[in-house]
């Protein structure tokens, strides 16, 4: 099949335009973060899917075809189109080289990630220094995973919903609104990336720290960090669990039974690296979790409120 010079150039320019918009793997693959030897175990946050390097590879393939076609043509056929052959070949080569590098980088990152995930499939993300935690791992539910909302649907009962406001913060608030709420309660506001932190200005203050996660520009997750004294930790954990059970009923995922050591002192048990799983309530438009956590050498009880739509299938 013969392709006319005009359509050849039109196709080439279109391909150049599309491909020069981005090098997928460079932009969208996430490297596994190096893990500190002393950090607690956690899920590996990185890109394991090969989709992006495959997209890059296909761009390299497409550019190579245009490059070969351009090399096979003489200067005259380029001249008729008013295109500089050298410039065209140079441009195509540069784009192909950028995408080749991006593809190689992408394959390297994804294979390293797959290895890391294979070695530590059920671990938790390490927290970042300075008491500023990384976002909680919210892995998307796969179709073969059990539907946590299924029991709600089966029961036919109208379940309670996630509160619209938690500790003064409204879901769907913007960053500016959340900051205003925080500073209005005489607490310090700090935003790093998608995570906002509203903490008491005085360390010993009775006010609690709130960690706020934003998604699509709106507040989507509110975490209240309780930090009871070591001797009152287990009692406060039970009290909070009881309070949530009264309000939201029996959790769909009850908290794990505590070992003898943890039952004696949760703080000591978490210090040794044990992290007992907490309770989870799946509600109409979100979920609530209550769990003990160990971050930056301190024990916390995290009360997490997340707004999300139940999966539609």
């Amino acid at each position: 099949m013969m392709i006319s010079s005009g359509s050849f150039f039109r196709c080439s320019v279109a391909a150049l335009l599309v491909s020069s918009l981005s090098a997928c793997s460079f932009l969208f693959t996430t490297k596994p973060r190096p893990r500190d030897a002393n950090s607690p175990p956690g899920p590996v946050e990185c890109t394991s899917s090969k989709a992006l390097p495959i997209v890059d590879s296909s761009v390299v393939l497409g550019e190579s075809i245009f490059l070969i076609a351009a090399l096979a043509r003489d200067d005259d056929s380029f001249g008729k189109q008013g295109v500089n052959r050298g410039l065209y070949i140079g441009g195509t080569s540069v784009v192909a080289a950028v995408f080749l590098a991006s593809a190689l980088y992408g394959y390297d990152v994804t294979s390293k990630c797959q290895v890391r995930k294979g070695q530590a499939p059920d671990t938790k993300a390490p927290s970042s220094p300075g008491g500023f935690p990384a976002p909680d791992e919210d892995r998307g539910r796969r179709s073969r995973d059990p539907d946590p909302w299924a029991s709600l649907v089966a029961s036919g009962a109208q379940p309670p919903d996630v509160p619209k406001t938690v500790a003064g913060f409204s879901f769907a608030a913007t960053v500016a609104e959340a900051e205003k709420t925080c500073t209005a309660t005489q607490r310090a506001w700090d935003l790093r990336g998608r995570i906002g932190r509203c903490s008491p200005k005085v360390e010993d203050s009775a006010a609690e720290t709130a960690r706020l996660e934003f998604e699509l520009g709106k507040l989507s997750k509110i975490v209240i960090l309780h930090q009871p004294a070591q001797d009152a930790f287990n009692k406060d954990y039970d009290k909070l669990d009881g309070k949530l059970r009264v309000r939201y009923g029996k959790p769909q995922v009850p908290r794990a039974a505590l070992s003898d050591e943890c039952a004696a002192s949760l703080v000591e048990c978490m210090k040794r690296g044990e992290t007992p799983a907490g309770s989870k309530w799946f509600l109409r438009a979100g979920r609530i979790e209550l769990l003990p956590t160990w971050r930056d050498d301190r024990a916390f009880i995290e009360e997490r409120y997340t707004r999300e739509e139940p999966p539609s299938e």
Binding site: L191, R194, F214, E215, L216
Partner: protein
Amino acid sequence: MSPESVARSILLGVLGLVVAVANIAFWMFVVIRGQQRFQRLVERRFNVVIEIGHKGHWRVSGGASWLRRLAIEFLQLGYFMTAFLVWAAAMLAVVGLFSLAEP
């Protein structure tokens, strides 16, 4: 008018309607669902908060450097440019199809 040309005219009308509906559906997806998914992807990748500002412009916060803001600006532009190119390619195919059915 021959029966064949009547049939072709009807076919063109039906095709036109289908294209009109598909066109609306495509741009609705690009502007609403697609953009939302892309926004979420960019937010997670670059660890920033993106709010929708004036006329759909992305407003970035969360301590991003000016270079990152610029990159995100281009990504939003790139998203719509890609959608436009896909749309243009589909339109070319549709025009070709229409010319085949022309009475």
